[in-house]
Protein backbone atom coordinates (compact mmCIF):
# COMPACT_ATOMS: atom_id res chain seq x y z
CA UNK A 1 0.00 0.00 0.00
CA UNK A 2 1.00 3.62 -0.31
CA UNK A 3 2.74 4.25 2.96
CA UNK A 4 2.65 7.99 2.68
CA UNK A 5 -1.14 7.95 3.08
CA UNK A 6 -0.62 7.09 6.74
CA UNK A 7 1.14 10.43 7.18
CA UNK A 8 -1.80 12.35 5.75
CA UNK A 9 -3.82 12.60 9.00
CA UNK A 10 -0.67 13.72 10.83
CA UNK A 11 -0.06 16.40 8.23
CA UNK A 12 -3.68 17.57 8.38
CA UNK A 13 -3.51 17.68 12.17
CA UNK A 14 -0.27 19.66 12.10
CA UNK A 15 -1.78 22.16 9.66
CA UNK A 16 -4.87 22.59 11.82
CA UNK A 17 -2.76 22.92 14.97
CA UNK A 18 -0.76 25.74 13.41
CA UNK A 19 -3.97 27.40 12.22
CA UNK A 20 -5.58 27.24 15.64
CA UNK A 21 -2.40 28.34 17.40
CA UNK A 22 -2.22 31.46 15.26
CA UNK A 23 -5.98 32.06 15.23
CA UNK A 24 -6.68 31.57 18.91
CA UNK A 25 -3.82 33.82 19.94
CA UNK A 26 -5.45 36.69 18.09
CA UNK A 27 -7.88 39.02 19.83
CA UNK A 28 -11.11 38.83 17.80
CA UNK A 29 -12.19 42.23 19.15
CA UNK A 30 -9.32 43.95 17.34
CA UNK A 31 -9.94 44.48 13.63
CA UNK A 32 -7.17 45.34 11.21
CA UNK A 33 -7.45 48.89 9.91
CA UNK A 34 -7.16 49.53 6.16
CA UNK A 35 -5.90 53.02 7.01
CA UNK A 36 -2.49 51.90 8.23
CA UNK A 37 0.22 53.58 6.11
CA UNK A 38 -2.45 55.75 4.50
CA UNK A 39 -2.71 59.49 4.84
CA UNK A 40 -4.85 60.52 7.80
CA UNK A 41 -8.39 61.35 6.71
CA UNK A 42 -9.36 64.91 5.87
CA UNK A 43 -11.32 66.41 8.73
CA UNK A 44 -11.83 69.67 10.59
CA UNK A 45 -13.31 69.66 14.07
CA UNK A 46 -14.35 72.66 16.16
CA UNK A 47 -12.72 73.25 19.55
CA UNK A 48 -14.40 72.62 22.88
CA UNK A 49 -15.98 75.74 24.37
CA UNK A 50 -13.41 77.89 26.18
CA UNK A 51 -10.62 76.88 23.82
CA UNK A 52 -9.63 78.15 20.40
CA UNK A 53 -7.68 75.04 19.42
CA UNK A 54 -9.83 72.70 17.39
CA UNK A 55 -8.34 69.83 15.43
CA UNK A 56 -7.98 69.34 11.69
CA UNK A 57 -5.86 67.32 9.25
CA UNK A 58 -3.43 70.21 8.86
CA UNK A 59 -2.39 69.88 12.54
CA UNK A 60 -1.12 66.35 11.95
CA UNK A 61 1.88 67.13 9.78
CA UNK A 62 5.28 68.38 10.89
CA UNK A 63 5.90 66.10 13.83
CA UNK A 64 5.16 62.57 14.99
CA UNK A 65 1.95 62.72 16.99
CA UNK A 66 -0.66 60.63 18.73
CA UNK A 67 -4.36 60.96 17.94
CA UNK A 68 -6.58 59.65 20.72
CA UNK A 69 -10.31 59.17 20.29
CA UNK A 70 -11.96 59.50 23.69
CA UNK A 71 -15.15 60.54 25.45
CA UNK A 72 -16.11 61.40 28.99
CA UNK A 73 -18.87 58.77 28.85
CA UNK A 74 -16.35 56.04 28.06
CA UNK A 75 -15.32 54.03 31.10
CA UNK A 76 -12.02 52.60 29.76
CA UNK A 77 -10.99 56.14 28.76
CA UNK A 78 -10.85 57.08 32.43
CA UNK A 79 -8.45 54.22 33.02
CA UNK A 80 -6.37 55.27 30.01
CA UNK A 81 -6.35 58.93 30.95
CA UNK A 82 -3.66 58.60 33.65
CA UNK A 83 -1.36 56.95 31.10
CA UNK A 84 -1.89 59.82 28.66
CA UNK A 85 -1.24 62.41 31.40
CA UNK A 86 2.06 60.68 32.18
CA UNK A 87 2.97 60.58 28.47
CA UNK A 88 2.12 64.27 28.04
CA UNK A 89 4.38 65.11 30.99
CA UNK A 90 7.38 63.60 29.16
CA UNK A 91 6.77 66.03 26.25
CA UNK A 92 7.88 63.32 23.82
CA UNK A 93 5.11 63.95 21.31
CA UNK A 94 1.91 65.97 21.04
CA UNK A 95 -1.31 64.15 21.88
CA UNK A 96 -4.35 65.26 19.91
CA UNK A 97 -7.82 64.39 21.14
CA UNK A 98 -10.97 63.60 19.18
CA UNK A 99 -13.77 63.91 21.70
CA UNK A 100 -16.52 61.68 20.36
CA UNK A 101 -20.22 62.47 20.85
CA UNK A 102 -19.80 64.18 24.17
CA UNK A 103 -21.77 66.74 26.10
CA UNK A 104 -19.63 69.85 26.49
CA UNK A 105 -20.29 70.25 30.24
CA UNK A 106 -19.47 66.57 30.77
CA UNK A 107 -16.13 66.68 28.97
CA UNK A 108 -15.16 70.02 30.53
CA UNK A 109 -15.81 68.63 34.00
CA UNK A 110 -13.96 65.43 33.07
CA UNK A 111 -10.84 67.29 31.92
CA UNK A 112 -10.99 69.59 34.98
CA UNK A 113 -11.10 66.56 37.26
CA UNK A 114 -8.52 64.33 35.59
CA UNK A 115 -6.25 66.87 33.88
CA UNK A 116 -5.79 67.63 30.20
CA UNK A 117 -3.03 65.78 28.34
CA UNK A 118 -4.15 67.03 24.91
CA UNK A 119 -2.37 69.68 22.86
CA UNK A 120 -5.53 70.18 20.84
CA UNK A 121 -9.02 68.71 21.07
CA UNK A 122 -11.67 68.52 18.35
CA UNK A 123 -15.30 67.90 19.18
CA UNK A 124 -16.75 65.22 16.91
CA UNK A 125 -20.41 64.40 16.33
CA UNK A 126 -19.43 60.98 15.00
CA UNK A 127 -18.72 61.63 11.31
CA UNK A 128 -14.99 62.27 11.75
CA UNK A 129 -14.77 59.06 13.77
CA UNK A 130 -16.21 57.14 10.82
CA UNK A 131 -13.65 58.77 8.53
CA UNK A 132 -10.97 57.43 10.89
CA UNK A 133 -12.58 53.99 10.96
CA UNK A 134 -13.28 54.16 14.68
CA UNK A 135 -15.59 51.40 15.91
CA UNK A 136 -15.05 51.69 19.64
CA UNK A 137 -13.72 54.23 22.06
CA UNK A 138 -10.92 54.63 23.00
CA UNK A 139 -8.78 54.18 19.92
CA UNK A 140 -5.36 55.67 19.35
CA UNK A 141 -3.42 56.35 16.16
CA UNK A 142 0.26 57.08 15.74
CA UNK A 143 0.87 59.62 12.96
CA UNK A 144 4.21 60.24 11.31
CA UNK A 145 5.70 63.59 10.29
CA UNK A 146 4.05 63.51 6.87
CA UNK A 147 0.60 62.97 8.35
CA UNK A 148 0.36 59.24 7.55
CA UNK A 149 -1.18 56.78 10.00
CA UNK A 150 1.47 54.26 11.03
CA UNK A 151 -0.11 52.39 13.91
CA UNK A 152 -3.51 51.88 15.47
CA UNK A 153 -4.30 50.75 18.98
CA UNK A 154 -7.83 49.67 19.88
CA UNK A 155 -8.91 49.90 23.51
CA UNK A 156 -7.27 51.69 26.41
CA UNK A 157 -3.52 52.21 26.25
CA UNK A 158 -1.56 50.78 29.15
CA UNK A 159 1.81 52.04 30.34
CA UNK A 160 3.31 48.89 28.81
CA UNK A 161 1.76 49.72 25.42
CA UNK A 162 3.34 53.18 25.60
CA UNK A 163 6.76 51.92 26.66
CA UNK A 164 6.98 48.82 24.46
CA UNK A 165 5.13 49.88 21.32
CA UNK A 166 4.22 53.54 20.98
CA UNK A 167 7.46 55.21 22.08
CA UNK A 168 9.87 52.90 20.21
CA UNK A 169 7.79 53.29 17.05
CA UNK A 170 7.55 57.05 17.51
CA UNK A 171 11.34 57.24 17.98
CA UNK A 172 11.87 55.32 14.73
CA UNK A 173 9.39 57.50 12.84
CA UNK A 174 10.98 60.65 14.28
CA UNK A 175 14.39 59.93 12.74
Amino acid sequence: MRRWLYLLPVAVFALMAVGFYVGLGRDPEVLPSPLIDEEAPQFALPPLPGSDKGLSSADLTGSVSLVNVFASWCKPCREEHAVLIALAATKRLPIYGIDQKDKTEAVTAWLAELGNPYTRIGADDGQASIAWGVYGVPETYLIDKTGHIRYKHVGPLSQADIDKTILPLAARLGQ
Partner: protein
Amino acid sequence: MRRWFPFALIVFAVLIALAALMPVPAHAVRPDEMLADPALEARAREIGKELRCLVCRNQSIDDSDADLAHDIRVLVRQRLAAGDTNAQVIAYIRSRYGDYVLLKPPFQFDTWLLWGGPAAVLLVGLVGVGRYLRRQAGMTAAPPLSAEEERRLAAVIEDKPPP
Protein backbone atom coordinates in the same frame (compact mmCIF):
# COMPACT_ATOMS: atom_id res chain seq x y z
CA MET B 1 -49.11 7.18 19.91
CA ARG B 2 -52.20 9.13 18.87
CA ARG B 3 -53.00 9.39 15.20
CA TRP B 4 -52.98 13.14 14.95
CA PHE B 5 -49.50 13.47 16.35
CA PRO B 6 -47.45 13.02 13.12
CA PHE B 7 -49.86 15.35 11.35
CA ALA B 8 -49.45 18.05 14.02
CA LEU B 9 -45.69 17.62 13.81
CA ILE B 10 -45.72 18.26 10.05
CA VAL B 11 -47.94 21.34 10.45
CA PHE B 12 -45.58 22.61 13.15
CA ALA B 13 -42.51 22.07 10.95
CA VAL B 14 -44.18 23.85 8.02
CA LEU B 15 -45.05 26.82 10.25
CA ILE B 16 -41.47 27.06 11.50
CA ALA B 17 -40.14 26.91 7.93
CA LEU B 18 -42.54 29.67 6.87
CA ALA B 19 -41.53 31.83 9.81
CA ALA B 20 -37.87 31.40 8.88
CA LEU B 21 -38.60 32.39 5.29
CA MET B 22 -40.47 35.55 6.25
CA PRO B 23 -38.53 38.71 5.48
CA VAL B 24 -37.34 40.32 8.69
CA PRO B 25 -38.09 44.05 8.70
CA ALA B 26 -35.21 46.42 9.38
CA HIS B 27 -35.98 47.20 13.00
CA ALA B 28 -33.39 49.76 13.81
CA VAL B 29 -33.87 52.34 11.05
CA ARG B 30 -35.51 55.27 12.81
CA PRO B 31 -38.16 57.36 11.06
CA ASP B 32 -36.11 60.55 11.48
CA GLU B 33 -33.21 58.98 9.56
CA MET B 34 -35.23 58.07 6.51
CA LEU B 35 -34.98 59.96 3.28
CA ALA B 36 -38.07 61.64 1.85
CA ASP B 37 -37.38 60.14 -1.59
CA PRO B 38 -38.59 56.51 -1.47
CA ALA B 39 -36.24 55.44 -4.29
CA LEU B 40 -33.18 56.78 -2.44
CA GLU B 41 -34.40 55.29 0.84
CA ALA B 42 -34.81 51.92 -0.89
CA ARG B 43 -31.19 52.16 -2.10
CA ALA B 44 -30.09 53.07 1.42
CA ARG B 45 -31.79 49.87 2.67
CA GLU B 46 -30.00 47.83 -0.01
CA ILE B 47 -26.68 49.20 1.21
CA GLY B 48 -27.60 48.91 4.88
CA LYS B 49 -28.26 45.18 4.49
CA GLU B 50 -24.73 44.61 3.23
CA LEU B 51 -22.82 46.53 5.88
CA ARG B 52 -21.85 45.00 9.19
CA CYS B 53 -22.33 46.87 12.42
CA LEU B 54 -18.83 46.74 13.90
CA VAL B 55 -20.10 47.10 17.45
CA CYS B 56 -22.44 44.11 17.41
CA ARG B 57 -20.53 42.22 14.69
CA ASN B 58 -23.27 39.87 13.55
CA GLN B 59 -25.96 42.36 12.64
CA SER B 60 -26.26 44.62 9.66
CA ILE B 61 -26.33 48.34 10.34
CA ASP B 62 -30.04 48.33 9.49
CA ASP B 63 -30.74 45.79 12.21
CA SER B 64 -28.55 47.31 14.89
CA ASP B 65 -29.48 49.88 17.50
CA ALA B 66 -25.85 50.74 18.17
CA ASP B 67 -24.81 54.38 17.92
CA LEU B 68 -22.18 53.61 15.29
CA ALA B 69 -24.77 51.85 13.13
CA HIS B 70 -26.99 54.91 13.37
CA ASP B 71 -24.10 57.19 12.36
CA ILE B 72 -23.23 55.01 9.37
CA ARG B 73 -26.89 54.88 8.26
CA VAL B 74 -26.97 58.67 8.35
CA LEU B 75 -23.70 58.86 6.41
CA VAL B 76 -24.98 56.41 3.79
CA ARG B 77 -28.06 58.60 3.26
CA GLN B 78 -26.00 61.80 3.09
CA ARG B 79 -23.80 60.28 0.42
CA LEU B 80 -26.74 58.96 -1.60
CA ALA B 81 -28.41 62.37 -1.42
CA ALA B 82 -25.15 63.92 -2.63
CA GLY B 83 -25.30 61.71 -5.72
CA ASP B 84 -23.01 58.77 -4.92
CA THR B 85 -23.77 55.39 -6.47
CA ASN B 86 -24.39 52.41 -4.17
CA ALA B 87 -20.95 51.05 -5.04
CA GLN B 88 -19.27 54.35 -4.18
CA VAL B 89 -20.96 54.50 -0.79
CA ILE B 90 -19.95 50.94 0.05
CA ALA B 91 -16.40 51.56 -1.23
CA TYR B 92 -16.07 54.55 1.09
CA ILE B 93 -17.20 52.65 4.20
CA ARG B 94 -14.95 49.73 3.18
CA SER B 95 -11.97 52.08 2.80
CA ARG B 96 -12.47 53.16 6.44
CA TYR B 97 -13.30 49.86 8.11
CA GLY B 98 -11.81 47.19 5.84
CA ASP B 99 -13.30 44.06 4.26
CA TYR B 100 -14.80 42.97 7.57
CA VAL B 101 -17.48 45.65 7.30
CA LEU B 102 -18.96 43.74 4.34
CA LEU B 103 -21.36 41.05 5.53
CA LYS B 104 -20.68 39.06 2.36
CA PRO B 105 -16.94 38.56 1.99
CA PRO B 106 -15.60 39.56 -1.44
CA PHE B 107 -13.95 36.94 -3.63
CA GLN B 108 -10.29 37.87 -3.67
CA PHE B 109 -6.81 36.49 -3.00
CA ASP B 110 -7.15 35.99 0.75
CA THR B 111 -10.67 34.54 0.57
CA TRP B 112 -10.24 31.94 -2.21
CA LEU B 113 -10.14 29.12 0.34
CA LEU B 114 -13.34 30.40 1.96
CA TRP B 115 -15.23 30.50 -1.32
CA GLY B 116 -13.52 27.60 -3.09
CA GLY B 117 -13.24 25.27 -0.06
CA PRO B 118 -16.73 23.71 -0.25
CA ALA B 119 -16.39 23.14 -4.01
CA ALA B 120 -12.97 21.56 -3.47
CA VAL B 121 -14.33 19.22 -0.78
CA LEU B 122 -17.21 18.26 -3.09
CA LEU B 123 -14.76 17.58 -5.91
CA VAL B 124 -12.56 15.38 -3.72
CA GLY B 125 -15.67 13.48 -2.59
CA LEU B 126 -16.89 12.97 -6.16
CA VAL B 127 -13.49 11.71 -7.29
CA GLY B 128 -13.45 9.30 -4.33
CA VAL B 129 -16.94 7.98 -5.09
CA GLY B 130 -16.09 7.65 -8.79
CA ARG B 131 -12.97 5.62 -8.05
CA TYR B 132 -14.87 3.41 -5.62
CA LEU B 133 -17.64 2.71 -8.12
CA ARG B 134 -15.15 1.95 -10.88
CA ARG B 135 -13.28 -0.49 -8.69
CA GLN B 136 -16.58 -2.22 -7.81
CA ALA B 137 -17.54 -2.55 -11.45
CA GLY B 138 -14.12 -3.93 -12.35
CA MET B 139 -14.27 -6.71 -9.78
CA THR B 140 -14.92 -10.19 -11.24
CA ALA B 141 -17.66 -12.21 -9.62
CA ALA B 142 -16.48 -14.89 -7.20
CA PRO B 143 -16.27 -18.40 -8.76
CA PRO B 144 -19.19 -20.69 -7.88
CA LEU B 145 -18.82 -23.16 -5.05
CA SER B 146 -17.55 -26.63 -5.81
CA ALA B 147 -19.70 -29.67 -5.05
CA GLU B 148 -17.69 -30.43 -1.92
CA GLU B 149 -18.14 -26.84 -0.65
CA GLU B 150 -21.87 -26.97 -1.33
CA ARG B 151 -22.15 -30.13 0.74
CA ARG B 152 -20.24 -28.64 3.69
CA LEU B 153 -22.27 -25.46 3.53
CA ALA B 154 -25.55 -27.40 3.62
CA ALA B 155 -24.26 -29.31 6.66
CA VAL B 156 -23.36 -26.09 8.46
CA ILE B 157 -26.76 -24.58 7.74
CA GLU B 158 -28.52 -27.65 9.08
CA ASP B 159 -26.20 -27.64 12.07
CA LYS B 160 -25.03 -31.21 11.68
CA PRO B 161 -21.43 -32.29 12.02
CA PRO B 162 -19.92 -32.75 8.55
CA PRO B 163 -19.88 -36.37 7.51
